[in-house]
Symmetry: C2
Subunit: 390 residues, 2 copies
């Protein structure tokens, strides 16, 4: 049965990128200010906060982030919890907020995500990100994330004939879309030739197959039906939510060409929303690496297994294609401040659904799916969103 | 209005202490196995997991803990999120689980907490714990947690005449209660003289005023009313839940003799439950330091401000007193594996409410309050629990 009472009435993000001189708490406060101002939600009407952040302990030596951030953002006193599931942290915060609204305990809440990564050395960031893999069986023996997704890419290439060029085309599309997104880390197009520059990070993944290290924050205001009327005539409904896990370590996976948590979470979310993949006008998927977008678009049912690469080649997933994916640029070109990503994806979906995405507007925009995953898909959260007048 | 649908049908913990050779994931699995076996809940009936853990990134270099732990504990695939609010991490996981049940999205879920602290050096643990304070304004200038609570103790002594002996009596009571608790880290009584040994950690707090560094895990199974019948004739109801925040840094607090988040969270939880402090038969409070128990017992309304010390002196908070507090020994003597604590408190409350606490059984045990806080009370979560036949 679709969720009945969960509405998005506002959604905003900071610019993503290397935000020199802007601290962890300042980015959070900026996103909150933008989101609350946009919908005219007085801060005193926000009853609770659900915050996604992956690893501030290691990146800014700050745990217990919720009360700290809330105080700094002018929301002192309200309950706040930080939710963590690696790169899916933002979406797990969203889910907790959905349950808070659906339970009737709160009727206006904040969901936010934040990560400050560029103030640490690359070695420190790599060490921090490695904490999202199994320390005992993966990261401690040197398997970093580009390595893990490189393995998945090889498996996909071997089974389906996916090529390095197919992956590069995902990057070219991401950069093209981001070129008109003023909040993106990389606002410039790249050629296929450049995307194929053989600066390998972990074969077959090259520099342009990898999302960058970024700073950023995003915030969304959720309300009950009753309260939504107060802030907007046109809220966006969250009608389906699904979350699933998989084993953390790749050695216990039966298939490396698909992530079972993506398949499971999508199935649950579609079922709850009473909709199918064909009902989705576009998708926001977790493209931490180009191969991840290809696999995700198959896992969420946009394409059959092994057919996503062809869709990319044919422009089906382009902004003006039949099934646009990541129309504002995705993690690849917009940036990937880990804890913010899952919330930023919802911000993008919200803008597109309302038809307010400007040069990045997709043609059909009634309903969409948002896919956020953590690690190598050990966690996946999928959300189905729909404009309320549909 | 009291929560209508949230039942505890099972609750268990590992032994707390320096558990040499037992890993983070093994402790978690042990607590889950105990909790599911106790109530005869087949693992396949658990639909989602809510996990409290404070800082595994720094202590065991492991983030993204939920899927890892669930896989290891035989619960692969179900959605799991890690919830973090410093020492209140366990109770924030509990609250998310309560909302999941009350929303109707799930009807049988696991709440668990875990922390592995003793495999790190004391310096590393101190650094990790400091991440629960404001890095910019407190921890980076050397204010550690014993220091922060030392300041609170001085303020309480100055305003109310509370003495070092009063605090020592809290420690003596904790050790007495823990002496018959086989799961406690310190199972031995101490004399008042010993508690007063002048080994100062941060004046006026001495060694025996401080909770120890510990390993441990705890787990609770929550179900809807309908499902509860399947597992037990006598569930325990959670009827009230409250959470509140305060500014992280002490310099922005108007009062150091009380923690506003404890007062606020208690008020919310009592109101939701439709009960008052006088209706509580006993309390489980967050005694990370002895002064914290004294202040908490005032903040939750068991005693008027400044009157808790007298209650301790008069034995009112003893196991056989009129208002027992921490009847199994509290954090002080049972141990304080940070993320596990908030869940372990619920385990203790569950045992006491059912009358199954053996030598640690409180005489009246229909209703109780559980108080878990994080940092210096920047986060507080309060839970009101009641036996279902009351």
């Amino acid at each position: 049965m679709p969720l009945k009472n969960t509405n998005i009435v506002s959604a905003a993000q900071t610019k993503f990128g290397a935000l020199k001189g802007v601290t962890f708490r300042e980015m959070f406060a900026e996103a909150v200010d933008k989101a609350t101002t946009q919908a005219g939600v007085p801060k005193k009407e926000i009853q609770a906060a659900f915050i996604g952040s992956f690893i501030p302990e290691m990146l800014v030596h700050q745990g217990h982030t919720a009360p700290l951030l809330l105080d700094f953002a002018g929301l002192k006193g309200i309950p706040g919890t930080r939710h963590e599931a690696a790169c899916a942290s933002g979406a797990t915060a969203l889910r907790a907020a959905i349950m808070a609204i659906e339970s009737g305990i709160y009727d206006t809440v904040l969901v936010a995500g934040v990560e400050k990564m560029t103030s640490s050395s690359t070695a420190k960031v790599t060490e921090a990100l490695a904490a999202a893999a199994d320390d005992q069986f993966e990261s401690s023996i040197g398997l970093t994330f580009p390595g893990v997704f490189g393995i998945a890419a090889v498996a996909h290439m071997q089974r389906y004939g996916t090529t390095e060029e197919d992956m590069a085309l995902v990057s070219v599309k991401a950069h093209k879309n981001a070129s008109t997104n003023p909040l993106a880390q990389f606002q410039k197009e790249i050629t296929l030739e450049k995307a194929l520059t053989p600066r390998y990070v972990a074969w077959p993944l090259k520099l342009f197959d990898c999302s960058p290290i970024s700073d950023g924050a995003a915030a969304v205001v959720l309300t009950s039906n009753e309260k939504a009327k107060k802030y907007t005539d046109l809220p966006v409904k969250i009608t389906g939510t699904g979350q699933a896990s998989a084993s953390m370590d790749l050695c216990n996976r039966s298939d490396l060409t698909s992530f079972s948590s993506s398949v499971d979470a999508s199935r649950i979310a579609y079922k709850m929303a009473g909709l199918e993949p064909k009902d989705m006008d576009f998708a926001i998927v977790h493209d931490c690496f180009t191969i991840a977008e290809i696999i995700a678009s198959e896992d969420i049912g946009f394409f059959k297994p092994g057919e996503a690469a062809k869709a990319v080649r044919d422009g089906v997933t382009a902004l003006d294609g039949d099934r646009p994916i990541n129309p504002m640029g995705g993690l690849k070109a917009v940036g990937h401040p880990v804890g913010a990503t899952g919330v930023k994806q919802v911000v993008v979906a919200y803008k597109e659904l309302l038809g307010t995405a400007g040069p990045n507007q997709v043609p059909k925009h009634d309903t969409c799916i948002v896919h956020n995953f953590g690690g190598t898909g050990a966690t996946c959260v999928v959300t189905v969103m729909r404009r309320s007048d549909v």
